[in-house]
Symmetry: C2
Subunit: 242 residues, 2 copies
């Protein structure tokens, strides 16, 4: 909820008066040819109307007509581990913040500590993703844009999140398991291959490729800058009218 | 994030011009005694300044100076089961909504389905309350007021929630176990006494009375209307400047 301070109204009154009085004085001078009269009326107008403008602003501050909320939306990054979701999501989040939008960033690894008992079986992952979806929907309902990045390998829970969100933008990080393994600095894929990790999407469980994502990022073909741009252009066009 | 539509700017221009032109015409008439001149200058002014006013509004729409966010806060109701938290919280929530504030309502029973594995042992209740606190803090950080009602019997987790929130208002529903048992339509106390429920605050585990709550509601001495008023007056004074 925003409101406007009295100082803002005063500044607007002064800024408006500067332009408006010059117009009045010019009109009086053109019609009467009397410079002194133009200046006198202009000066009187300055004080009378500056006060009037101030009260006019305060009155309109109470009128909500024509004040709109920018619609919130949920941007959901899905893709194999090490497909570059987190970095790209961080960049998009920063861009939206720079545009002075209200935006929250949710990452699977940040949310997990809240649910310490959640494991990595398909059932638990689906539950984790659904909870995250509830959280996204609650934020979105309250006017907060959400940028979320979750491997979210199963179509079932992604479909659930799409259902609870109002404006849902699914971003699929399109790449291959081989390319992700090469990018994987933390050695997660190696641990999955050795059996240390179970239920690892792309290794011993399938990653369900999204059927109709709003945006597909060709991870291995374009730069991060290009990917950020692809997403931000889409969001501006669809939600931000610019 | 709010913005103002062009229609709002047009309406403001018309509303302003009505007052302002009458002032100009009156001044010209007073100084020259010429009615026709006053009307001519007034009419010309109408068109020139209405357009100017519109562009002035659009320019100020881009200036964020003096546009303030109403601060968000977390209102946390704590008290024995059947102490009346839920009803009172619903009423306060409705009041804030009526004031067109952005406000979310969290109740323990609404949040629990998200965490189906959470039981009622002190440890699990503390974890549940901490999670709810995280949720409150995330909403508050994004400008959303939260009205939360949780038995939250343990000082430890309530203290945690106070720590993660920015503006925290703890409301203690002051009453007795006996009075709650009489109010308890659902028979929860009976089930606790019979041993069907364990870890029931006020029966087989203690309810930690808050040490420094912002507001104490004398549940058995005042009406719900009075209690709502007590809380709303506090919130308006502390956060809403009215």
């Amino acid at each position: 909820m925003q409101y406007e301070t009295k100082k803002r109204s005063i500044l607007k009154a002064i800024s408006w008066r500067t332009w408006a009085t010059m117009t009045t004085a010019a009109l009086v001078f053109i019609f009467t040819g009397q410079f002194a009269l133009a200046v006198t009326i202009g000066l009187l107008e300055v004080f009378a109307k500056m006060a009037l403008y101030f009260f006019h602003e305060r009155l309109w501050q109470r009128i909500s007509y024509g004040k709109k909320e920018i619609p919130a939306f949920v941007v959901w990054f899905t893709g194999l581990p090490a497909s570059g979701k987190k970095e790209l999501a961080n960049r998009v989040h920063q861009q939206l913040k720079d545009d002075k939008l209200k935006v929250e960033r949710l990452d699977s690894l940040d949310v997990r500590p809240l649910f310490p008992e959640t494991g990595f079986s398909p059932e638990e992952v689906n539950r984790h993703v659904k909870r995250a979806g509830h959280l996204c929907a609650m934020l979105e309902k309250n006017g907060v844009i959400v940028v979320a990045s979750f491997v979210s390998p199963y179509a079932k829970s992604r479909y659930f999140v799409r259902g609870v969100a109002n404006n849902f933008v699914e971003i699929y990080m399109k790449t291959t398991v081989d390319a992700c393994e090469k990018r994987d600095e933390k050695g997660h894929y190696a641990k999955a291959h050795s059996g240390e990790y179970q239920n690892f999407p792309g290794v011993d469980v399938a990653y369900d490729v999204p059927e109709n994502p709003e945006i597909i990022i060709a991870v291995d073909d374009i730069s991060t800058d290009e990917a950020v741009n692809q997403i931000v252009v889409y969001l501006r066009k669809r939600f931000l009218n610019n």
